[in-house]
């Protein structure tokens, strides 16, 4: 009985440790309050790539899309927000991923290819679409999830409040 108890105890202990460490490691890439991992992504069009570390000193709003085929109409709000906060150096990047014959959105914001084999340091988040607000120090301040429609509504007050602090 004692042996079984010890064995079970150890198994539970190890399982808990493994679960906790796995949880920590999975979340560590995008943890609020921690530096956002640096990455380089190529443009979805024939444009320059973008590297997060080059933007240190500027707040960055990263809009990571789920499936999107020429979904620029759903992104106009983000473009407007970017223009509104451009005076405070806000940089807004759209991260798009290829799916079958989908075409990237045609918008004046930089559209980056998230699933390119040329990407460096970028790991596609598990929950999409998502918005990441990364402050001037490269630290992740806010994460928003939901449909693109709900994100458009959610982001405005959060962004306004955040930009005041920035």
């Amino acid at each position: 009985m004692q042996a079984l108890k010890n064995s079970l105890g150890q198994t539970i202990r190890i399982t808990i440790l493994l679960c906790l460490s796995l949880n920590v490691s999975l979340a560590s890439g995008f943890t609020v309050g921690e530096p956002f991992p640096n990455f380089t992504l190529p443009s979805a069009y024939s444009g320059y790539g973008k590297q997060l570390s080059e933007q240190y000193g500027k707040p960055v709003m990263l809009v990571v899309l789920d499936r999107c085929n020429r979904c620029e109409n759903n992104l106009i709000e983000f473009q407007h927000l970017n223009i509104t906060h451009a005076i405070n150096d806000l940089e807004t990047w759209i991260v798009w991923k290829t799916y079958k014959k989908d075409q990237p959105p045609q918008i004046s914001l930089p559209v980056l290819q998230g699933d390119s084999r040329l990407r460096t340091g970028w790991e596609t988040p598990t929950k999409l679409p998502a918005i990441y607000l990364i402050n001037r120090d490269g630290v992740l301040d806010h994460v928003l999830h939901g449909s693109l429609r709900s994100l458009r509504k959610q982001v405005k007050p959060v962004l306004e409040q955040w930009m005041k602090q920035e």
């Binding site: 460490s21 190529p42 443009s43 320059y48 590297q51 040329l118």
Partner: protein, 165 residues
């Protein structure tokens, strides 16, 4: 089964009571993993990056009027593929004469066919890929290779070549 459930409940409660101890242990484990990872990385570098197999790649742009690089890919048999995505700031620096250290890799001694693909846009903004293969010989000395893009004013286009330092 009943005893197993009781035992599991008991030990789960016990585990909760030891949460602070566990937290400390988790932190210690995390720290150890980070340290181990660093040590492994150093060991890997020492094992792989011996001078005899080292190959370093550099990239330069002379002119930049007829070609703007956006990405670079290097590959060869027995060589881990090397790639880079260029940002506006990097291209600006290249235009001003900077030489970009793309990366280091390892390759065995002997002759190798290096495959280079530089994607970019021409003076009209149209996508262009400058691709070529070049044979280089790796000796026991470190090998340094420069992918050089040069404007050809007569042909109004850019040429790419591999230069051995």
């Amino acid at each position: 089964m009943k005893y197993l459930i009781i035992a599991l409940t008991f030990f789960t409660l016990a585990a909760n009571a030891q949460q602070s101890v566990l937290n400390k242990e988790i932190n210690t484990v995390k720290k150890s993993v980070v340290e181990l990872n660093q040590e492994l990385y150093q060991l890997e570098q020492e094992l792989l990056s011996t001078k005899g197999t080292e190959v370093a790649f550099y990239f330069s742009l002379r002119g930049g009027k007829f070609f703007v690089p956006l990405s670079l890919e290097l590959s060869a048999e027995g060589l881990a593929s090397v790639h880079h995505v260029y940002t506006e700031r990097e291209v600006k620096a290249l235009r001003q004469g900077a030489i970009h250290p793309v990366g280091k890799s390892n390759i065995g001694t002997g002759k190798h066919l290096i495959n280079v693909q530089v994607r970019g846009v021409d003076q009209h903004g149209d996508p262009v890929t400058l691709a070529f293969e070049s044979e280089v010989e790796k000796t026991s000395d470190p090998l340094m290779l420069e992918i050089s893009i040069q404007d050809n004013s007569k042909a109004k286009k850019a040429n790419a070549q591999l230069v051995v330092w």
